[in-house]
C-alpha cells in the first residue's frame, strides 16, 4: 500500500478539563501504512488527544476526519466501527477467560457464539499479521507481553485499521519490545496506520516513520524521522536544549548499612511473593533494582519499611533485626521509604491536604500535645525553595499540583527526615526530563552524604546510569546482582525474564 495519503486527520482539537487546557487546537495527520510517533512529556496532551480519537473523550471543539470523511464519536464503539482501536497501558482483559473468549467478548451480534467459526477467523488475522497468541490460554497464565499481543489481536479482529498504542513498551522487557516492534512493522506493511505514544527517544528513533512532537497541549512540529535526530526532538519536546547524561558519583564507603538475609513473604492468597532474597547495601551506595512490573518490587519496599508481613528471614539494619517491628519503629531508626505508585498519591501523601499537613505526617509523632504547624510550614517553604516546587502556596491542596511537583514534595519530605536508608521506588515515574534529572541530582547528593539508597525503577537507562550495582528480580527471586558499570541492557533484560546470572558480582 502506498505511503503518503493522509488517512486520519485531526484539526484544531481543543479539550479542557476544568481550567486546564489539555489540548489546545492540536493538529495531527497520519497516513496509511505509517508508524507515527507522538512524542511529548507528561501532560503534553498525548493521551488526551488519542482518547478523543478513540471515542473516550469528546472534543470541546475541532474536527476529526477519517478517510476524508468527518466523523463524530460519542463512544468508543463509534470509534471501533470507524476502524480506530486503542491499546491502553492497562490492559482491559478478563482474567478468568481464555484469549479467544476475551476476543469475542463484547460482540453484539447474535445470541449464540459459534466458537469454531470465530476461531478460524481469528487464526486468519493472526497469520495475516504474524501474531503469536495461544488462543486457549487463560489470561492469568499470560505474561505481560502475551497480554499485549492479545490486546492487539483483539483490536485487529474488531476491524481496526488505525491502531493507537499508548506507551506500549513501558511494561515490556527489551526482548518483548523487539517482538512488539516486529508486529508493528507487519501492521504497517498491511496498510494499517499505527500511532505510537512514547517519551522514550531511542524507541521512537527506531520504529517511527514520522514524529509529531507535542508540548503543553500544543502541536509543535511533525518531522520525518530521516530528517531529524534525538537532540532536535528533545529540544522541541522540552522547549530548550538539554544535556541528557546522568552523573554517577563513586561510592564512598564499604560500611554495610542493610543486610537482608533469606527474606520471604507471602501475599494474601498464600502465594510466595518474595522467595528468599539476600543482599546488602552500603552507606553511600545506590543499589538499583530492575525487574518487570509486579516481580515483587512493591512487596520488597513495603517489607523493608515494615509495612509488609515477613514470613521468614532477617532485615538487619546496622546489625539489628527489624523483622516484626511496627512501621513507626522503622521510621524512628532512620529508614525512609518513598514509593511512587501508579496513581502517585496512593501511598505517602494525602491528596486533599496541603503541604503543611503532609509534612506534619512524618513529624507529628515526635511532638507532645497538640499539633505544631509552624515548624512544618517552615519546612514546606524550605522544600519549595530547595526542590523548586511549583505551587501557589503551602496551603494549596497537593492534589492540584502536577505529578512532578507532588513527587518533589514527597521526596523532599522523606529527605528532610535525614534517613540513613532511603528506599525510593519509581521516583521519576511519569516525570518530564528536567525534573528527572533534578531528582537524580538529589539522589546523588544524598549518596554523597553517605545515605544508602535502594533505587527501584522501570527505566533501564537511569538504572545503568545512576546505580553502583543493579539487583535484578524476577518473579520474587533475585536473578543476579551486577556491576552497573559493566552491565548491558540485554543482560538485564534476560535476567528480568528469569535467566540467572551465573556469578554474583559484588
Amino acid at each position: 500500500m502506498q505511503n503518503g495519503s493522509v488517512y486520519v486527520s485531526m484539526r484544531d482539537i481543543t479539550k479542557t478539563f476544568g481550567n486546564v487546557v489539555a489540548t489546545d487546537k492540536m493538529n495531527l495527520d497520519v497516513a496509511e501504512g505509517e508508524i507515527h510517533a507522538l512524542l511529548g512529556e507528561n501532560g503534553a496532551g498525548k493521551s488526551t488527544l488519542m482518547n478523543m480519537l478513540s471515542g473516550i473523550y469528546i472534543p470541546d471543539s475541532g474536527h476529526i476526519f477519517i478517510g476524508g470523511k468527518e466523523v463524530k464519536f460519542s463512544s468508543p464503539r463509534d470509534a471501533i466501527n470507524a476502524g480506530v482501536g486503542m491499546i491502553h497501558q492497562h490492559f482491559k482483559l478478563v482474567d478468568v477467560l481464555t484469549a479467544l473468549e476475551n476476543i469475542l467478548l463484547g460482540k453484539r451480534k447474535g445470541f449464540l457464539l459459534n466458537k469454531k467459526q470465530h476461531y478460524h477467523e481469528v487464526r486468519k488475522i493472526m497469520e495475516q499479521f504474524h501474531l503469536e497468541v495461544d488462543l486457549k490460554k487463560y489470561i492469568y497464565d499470560m505474561s505481560v507481553g502475551e497480554k499485549q499481543n492479545l490486546e492487539i489481536l483483539k483490536t485487529l479482529y474488531r476491524g481496526a485499521r488505525i491502531l493507537i498504542l499508548d506507551e506500549p513498551t513501558a511494561v515490556l522487557t527489551p526482548q518483548e519490545t523487539v517482538v512488539l516492534f516486529k508486529i508493528m512493522r507487519r501492521m504497517k506493511e498491511q496498510g494499517c496506520s499505527v500511532i505510537f505514544i512514547s517519551h522514550k527517544m531511542n524507541e521512537v528513533m527506531e520504529i517511527a516513520d514520522r514524529i509529531t512532537v507535542l508540548r503543553k497541549g500544543k502541536t509543535i512540529a511533525t518531522l520525518n524521522k530521516a530528517e531529524t535526530n534525538p537532540e532536535e526532538l528533545t529540544e522541541l519536546m522540552v522547549g530548550r536544549p538539554i544535556d541528557l547524561s546522568i552523573n554517577r558519583i563513586e561510592r564512598v564507603t564499604d560500611k554495610r548499612v542493610l543486610k537482608v538475609r533469606d527474606l520471604r513473604a507471602v501475599n494474601e492468597e498464600g502465594v510466595e511473593v518474595l522467595k528468599g532474597l539476600n543482599f546488602d547495601i552500603c552507606a553511600g551506595e545506590i543499589l538499583g533494582v530492575a525487574g518487570i512490573a509486579g516481580s515483587g518490587q512493591k512487596e520488597l519496599c513495603e517489607a523493608l519499611a515494615g509495612l509488609y508481613p515477613v514470613k521468614e528471614g532477617e532485615i538487619l539494619f546496622k546489625g539489628e533485626n527489624l523483622v516484626g517491628k511496627t512501621p513507626k519503629e522503622f521510621i524512628t531508626r532512620g529508614i525512609s521509604m518513598s514509593f511512587i505508585p501508579e496513581d502517585r498519591l496512593g501511598m505517602g501523601l494525602v491528596a486533599s491536604m496541603d503541604m503543611v499537613d503532609n509534612i506534619l505526617l512524618k513529624q507529628y509523632h515526635h511532638t507532645k500535645g497538640f499539633l505544631k504547624k509552624k515548624p512544618a510550614a517552615a519546612k514546606a517553604e524550605e522544600i519549595i525553595k530547595k526542590l523548586d516546587v511549583q505551587t501557589p502556596g503551602i496551603h494549596h491542596p497537593i492534589k492540584n499540583l502536577s505529578g512532578g511537583n507532588i513527587q518533589k514534595v514527597l521526596l523532599g519530605r522523606e529527605l528532610d527526615s535525614h534517613p540513613e536508608l532511603l528506599i525510593t521506588a519509581y521516583p521519576v515515574r511519569g516525570l518530564d526530563i528536567n525534573t528527572c534529572l533534578r531528582i537524580y541530582d538529589i539522589l546523588n547528593e544524598e549518596k554523597k552524604k553517605g545515605v544508602a539508597i535502594l533505587y527501584i525503577a522501570e527505566d533501564l537507562d537511569s538504572l545503568l546510569g545512576l546505580s553502583d550495582r543493579i539487583m535484578v528480580i524476577s518473579n520474587g527471586e533475585i536473578t543476579g546482582i551486577v556491576d552497573a558499570r559493566k552491565a548491558t541492557k540485554e543482560q538485564l533484560g534476560a535476567m528480568m525474564l528469569g535467566k540467572k546470572e551465573e556469578e554474583y558480582a559484588v
Binding site: G18, G346, M347, G348, A351
Partner: protein
Amino acid sequence: MQFRVVKKPEISQKQYFLIMLAAITLALLTSGLFILLLGFNPLGVYASMIQGAFGSAYRIEQTIVAAVPLIIISLGVAIAFKMKFWNIGGEGQVIMGAFFASFLALNYQHLSRPLLLLLMVVAGFIGGALWGLIPAFLKAKWDTNETIVTLMLNYIALKWVTYLQYGPWKDPASLGFPKIANFTENAILPKLFGVHIGWVIALILVVIMYIFMNYSKKGFEIAVLGESINTARYAGINIFRTILFTMFLSGGLCGLAGMIQASAVINTLSVEVAGGVGFTAIITAWLGALKPHWIVVVSVLFAAMVQGGSYIQTAFGISAASASIIQAMILFFVLGSDFFTKYKVVIGSSLPADRKGAK
C-alpha cells in the same frame, strides 16, 4: 442540541455562597408555587414559619430543644465520616445511650441529683460508644461493610427497647399501658434560661470537637486515615486502634444525646427516644461540611424549619404531609446545589456554529 456535564475548577467561598443562595431562592419560589396551589399566600406562610420557629420566647426555646440533639449527634457522625466510616447508626447509638442512662435513672433514684446525672452522662456516653464499637471492631478486623452493620444495629437497639417497654421495664402503675416509668426529679437535667442545660453541653462539645478535629494528633490521624489507608499505614498510624477509638467517640456522642433526650425531653425511656434524629443528623453533618461550627448553624436552621413546618399546620390548617413537602423541597434544592458547586452543564453542540459554516 445536546447537554453535557463538565467539571468546574475549584470555586471560591463567595461563589459557593452565591450558589447556596440561589438554591434557597429557587426552593422558596418552587415551594411558593406549591403553597399557591394549596390556596395560601406563600409570603404569609413563610413569615409564619419564621414566626413559628422564633416568634416568641417559648418558640425559640422549642427550636433550641430540637436543635440540641441534632448538634450533638451531627458532631458524633461527623467525626466518623471524617474517617470515611459511614456511621448511619446514630439512631441506634442514641437509643443505647438512653438505655444505659435510664438503667441508672430507674434503679439509683436514691443518689443525689448531681451525682446521678453525672453517672447518667457517663453511662449514656458508654452505652452509645459500645454500640459504635461493634461495627468498628467488625470493620477493623474483618473489613465488614459498616453501612449495613450500623444500619442493622439501629433496629436491634430499637427492638431491645421495645421489648423492655412492653416487657420487663413496663411500669406496673401505668394500668397496662406499655410505658416505662417516668424518671424522678433527680434524674432530670435542670434548666438554664428556660431550656434544659443540654444546650450548654452541646456548645461545649462543639468547642471541644473543633479543637479535637483541627489541632489534636488523634484528629489528624483520623483525617489521614479517612483520606488513604495506605498513607496512614505508611505514616505509622495504628489503623485498628484508630478505627475503634473514632467509633467509640462517635457512638459515645450519640449516646450522650440519647441520655439528654431521655432525661430532659421525654423524662423516661421509650421507643420514641431517638425518633429519627439519628438519621436527620447525617444530613445536618453533611450540610455543615463536617465542621463543628457550621454544624451548629445548620442544626439550628434545620430545627427552625421543622418547628416552623409544624406551626403552619396549626396556623393555616396545612396538612402535615404538605408541610413535609415544603421542607423536603427546601432540602432538595440545597442538597442538589452541591452538584453545581462541582460541575456545570453546557448546553449546545460541541462545535461552534461559525466553524461549521466555514468548512
